[in-house]
């Protein structure tokens, strides 16, 4: 136990970095995911193609591979970014593919008549998506989005592999000094579990509040 208590500042700093990674990359993933969803359901074939290619690419590559490629590949093409920023961007782009698929399933769950009614009133495709389709789609996929958030939280620990000192890296460092892996990693695990539990609580509340009578 003292292995953890003696190193609380290190754990705390690691936890802050993990929270930064999680929040920033989820935000980025949500924005990119929304754009990809709009492309995938758009009437323009080229946009649908790009959207599909995006999802296929990022869902078919391991996140760790993408992270390593970005860290070593970006400097090769002259882009030098902070490791934390690199990790946030890569995780955001990766998770965006999953968010896009969750949102698209929500869009498909909205009856075709809703879009027809919106278009019949003179709303453009973008307007019907924004004001009619997506608000309803979002309500049906809150739970899957919550799951993606939790998976993303866990995935941020891969950033440790490219040198970002997040909670996992911090735990690893403390373990190198204290050599007590069980309590140290159980402690780190509990911190992750706490984040996940908060996410579960929030999605549960949101789902009940936004439930839509049909």
């Amino acid at each position: 136990m003292s292995a953890i208590l003696d190193h609380l500042p290190e754990f705390w700093e690691g936890l802050i970095v993990t929270l930064q990674l999680t929040a920033a990359s989820f935000l980025g993933a949500a924005v990119v995911g929304l754009v990809i969803t709009a492309m995938r359901v758009s009437p323009v074939g080229v946009l649908r193609g790009i959207g599909t290619a995006y999802v296929e690419t990022f869902q078919n590559l391991p996140l760790l591979v993408l992270l390593v490629l970005a860290v070593f590949g970006l400097p090769e093409i002259g882009i030098k970014a902070d490791l934390l920023v690199t990790a946030i961007v890569v995780i955001a782009l990766y998770e965006a593919a999953y968010i896009a698929e969750a949102l698209r399933s929500g869009v498909n769950a909205v009856s075709a008549g809703q879009g027809e009614a919106a278009r019949a009133l003179g709303l453009t495709f973008g307007q019907s998506l924004r004001h009619v389709i997506l608000p309803q789609a979002l309500r049906t996929v809150i739970q899957p989005l919550g799951n993606i958030f939790i998976a993303l939280t866990m995935n941020t620990s891969l950033a440790a592999a490219i040198g970002v000192v997040d909670l996992t890296a911090a735990a690893n460092r403390v373990n190198l000094m204290e050599a007590q892996p069980i309590p140290i990693f159980v402690g780190a695990g509990l911190a992750y579990a706490l984040i996940a539990a908060c996410a579960g609580f929030v999605t549960g509340r949101l789902e009940r509040r936004l439930v839509m009578v049909r």
Binding site: G113, E116, A117, R119, A120, L121, G122, V132, Q136, M212
Partner: protein, 242 residues
């Protein structure tokens, strides 16, 4: 107001509309009847291009209907549509349903859109339902809300695609009453329906379709009393005996 010339439409190999020619004058109420699968709903949906036509021309107010994009959206803003399944936006209150398009498409201020919406909801007799969600309304009330939503855009033409077919029998009347009133107010209307009573009462002209073709068209009294084609006589015999 509406001119359709040589309209053809296929669903795969199925030829659903065959050489349709139709003119609807300003202020005219045209009721389209016919058996299921005769293409009448498809025709109605082609008029605002919810269905793409295979070939032929559609002119609204003398202007060829654009095929896609913003011009098409602008055309649809002038052509109101009422669906069989109401299609009210489920996540918005009745009032917001009616306000959405005027605010987003016409750029009307929210205050103005709200007063117009409340006036229209009163006109269709559901003023007190304004703040409810669609799912909290009866079918008849939902359809009247949908009519108010279409009217809020001040359309030049109103299309009705079997507006009473999904309603319980006792609610059909309240929707038809609104439509009769609308027709009396001079609205140009194309109504696809199975309600022969409405056709007699409100139509200026009845169009009878079968097998994707317009088989017969005429003034309602003449059509119902003395249809000239066998197919129409046969159809009327079946629907009017009960």
């Amino acid at each position: 107001m509406i001119q359709v010339q040589g309209l053809n439409k296929w669903f795969g190999d199925h030829h659903v509309l065959r050489d349709i020619d139709l003119e609807v004058a300003q202020g005219e109420v045209v009721v389209v009847i016919g058996p299921s699968g005769s293409g009448k709903s498809t025709l109605c949906r082609c008029l605002n291009r919810l269905e793409t036509a295979g070939s032929g021309d559609i002119l609204i107010d003398g202007v060829p209907a654009p095929v896609e994009g913003r011009e098409l959206a602008r055309l649809r803003a002038d052509v109101g549509m009422v669906f069989q399944s109401f299609n009210l936006f489920q996540h918005k209150s009745v009032l917001e349903n009616v306000m959405l398009a005027p605010v987003k498409v016409r750029g009307v201020s929210r205050t103005e859109a709200e007063s117009t919406a409340r006036r229209l909801l009163a006109r269709v007799g559901i003023a007190e339902q304004a703040d409810k969600l669609p799912a909290q309304l009866s079918g008849g009330q939902q359809q009247r809300a949908a009519i108010a939503r279409a009217l809020a855009m001040r359309p030049k033409v109103m299309l009705f695609d079997e507006p009473t077919s999904a309603l319980d029998p006792e609610m059909v009347g309240e929707v038809l009453d609104v439509m009769v009133q609308l027709a009396a107010d001079g609205m140009t209307m194309v109504v696809v329906t199975h309600e022969m009573g409405f056709a007699r009462r409100a139509a200026d002209r009845v169009v009878f379709m079968d097998g994707g073709q317009i088989v017969e068209t005429g003034e309602p009294n003449a059509f119902f009393e003395a249809p000239t084609t066998d197919r129409a006589r046969d159809f009327l015999a079946k629907v009017l005996t009960h």
